[in-house]
Amino acid sequence: MTRRKWSAAGVAVGVLILASAFPFYWAIVSSFTPEARLFQKPSLLPSGLVLDHYRTLFEQRGFWVPIRNSLIVAGSTTVFCVVVGSFCAYALARLRFRGKAPLLALILTVSMFPQIAIVSPLYLVLRALRLTNTYPGLILPDLTFATPLTVWLLVGFFRQLPVELEEAAMVDGASRLRIFWEVVVPVALPGLAATAILTFLYCWNEFLFALSFTLGPERQTVPVAIALFRGRYQVPWGQILAAAIVATAPVAALVLVFQRKIVQGLTAGAVKG
């Protein structure tokens, strides 16, 4: 490897890191800058920072409401999908039965559905059941993409586990279900955790359903609340950016802590390993 080529790669990587980080840096700095100075000549170096926007966000806007809503909706969806998805994925990964290939194809197809294709019936159903603007009315639609996603990711994780453990347990006469609970689940915990994190991220970020099936601020999720932020006279950029940082922080923390597992899950889901 020549010196020159290495540095070209280094420059590309450097540009990537700077380009990824800059919008965050800029948003963080701006979220601490007083509103009046946001519209003056921008300066890259922060000065005279204040907490005003964050204070307004929580004290006047009640931003903890969308945070609570998002935690409830994304959390419930994740728990349901990981439980139901792990049963399904174990069968698909390990058991022999007819109809497996079409089932996998169906799950893959559903995970590729454009969400907009089912907004109209979901809206009509939820309205008829008086579920618009409720938690179940937000969780049920999220299952449409979260269920196939968890199954798909978990099939990948289960396939990577060594078969020997299960075979040994089977020789000992343990039933398939007991093997699943007592042998597979403990070994698969890292994979289950990674799947849960990814599912949670997808639900935390979901926008179209949450926008369509909520009517007012009391059940809005974080993305909807931020997107519908309005000021009385002008765009309240300081508060919007503060809210954006608050919405990003948990996601960024999860990703940074579990990055290795997440990459494994994503690439196992997409590239034959």
């Binding site: 919008p23 800029w26 069968a91 290939a101 559903v110 639609p141 991220l201 909807v224 950029w237």
Partner: protein
Amino acid sequence: MPSADAGDALERREARLAWWLVTPALATILLVALFPLLWTLWESVHLHDLRMPWLGRPFIGAVNYAEALRDPRFWAALGHTAFFTAVSVTLELGLGLVLALAMNRATRGRTVIRAAVLVPWAIPTVVSALLWRFIFDDQAGIVNAVLSGVGLIRQPIVWFIHPDLAWVPVIVSDVWKTTPFVALLLLAGLQNIDSSLYEAARIDGASSWQQFRHVTLPLLKPAMLVALVFRTLDSVRVFDLVYVLTGGGPGTSTEPIALYTFNSLLQNLRFGYGSALSVITFVVSFALALGYLRLLGRDLTEARA
């Protein structure tokens, strides 16, 4: 050794257990995804206007579809979607390939690189759209500050009131958010390539370009196709980004098909017509997915079956 009969019984038991395990997830998918999809289809051949409930919900056959075909806003939305998909996916795959090659060579800083790749991908699209809306803001935005700072412009550019320029923030934002993810997929593909192939090529006297052209590219094709599928299908249903960044405007000049469908449904409350648009969106995505699956079916489904 178990007899053939016992083996059969065991196999049947295994299959029965498999279906028990599969059923909850399968039932969920059928109930919340497939059943609504059929309902959309049913709605699309009926007249259903929530603003005019007295009209009822009569069957009108293909009238909604015929209206779509005559609707210039529909064709424009389809065109915007195709334009956005073509431009952003091309940029993302090209840049993603360059980044993946660079990341493959980087020996230090893997953790930082992975963070730089993952964080933009993991944040809500609504948030990234807002960050870029702020960066491209005509008064507070840093793009105008930089452009006027280096003397390229005298007046600030009002990006979001110009029908063509409004595409710039949309595409930049999408490329920023998803190129790192594409690079990640391609990097996984690169790391799967057996390094002895490069050694063999070097011994045969292949230049680095020839190695790239004849070893890297062909072996990276499956990963490239997977990235292409995911990015294309995501772009075709683009909604969040445009809703927040331009609202489809100015006018309807950046309105993609998903946003037009959403507006027909939940703004104009025309459920029959909106459902017809939904079905068309679905058919376009499905046709694309089927086409791609034929291209790389073996790499995707059979890896799991």
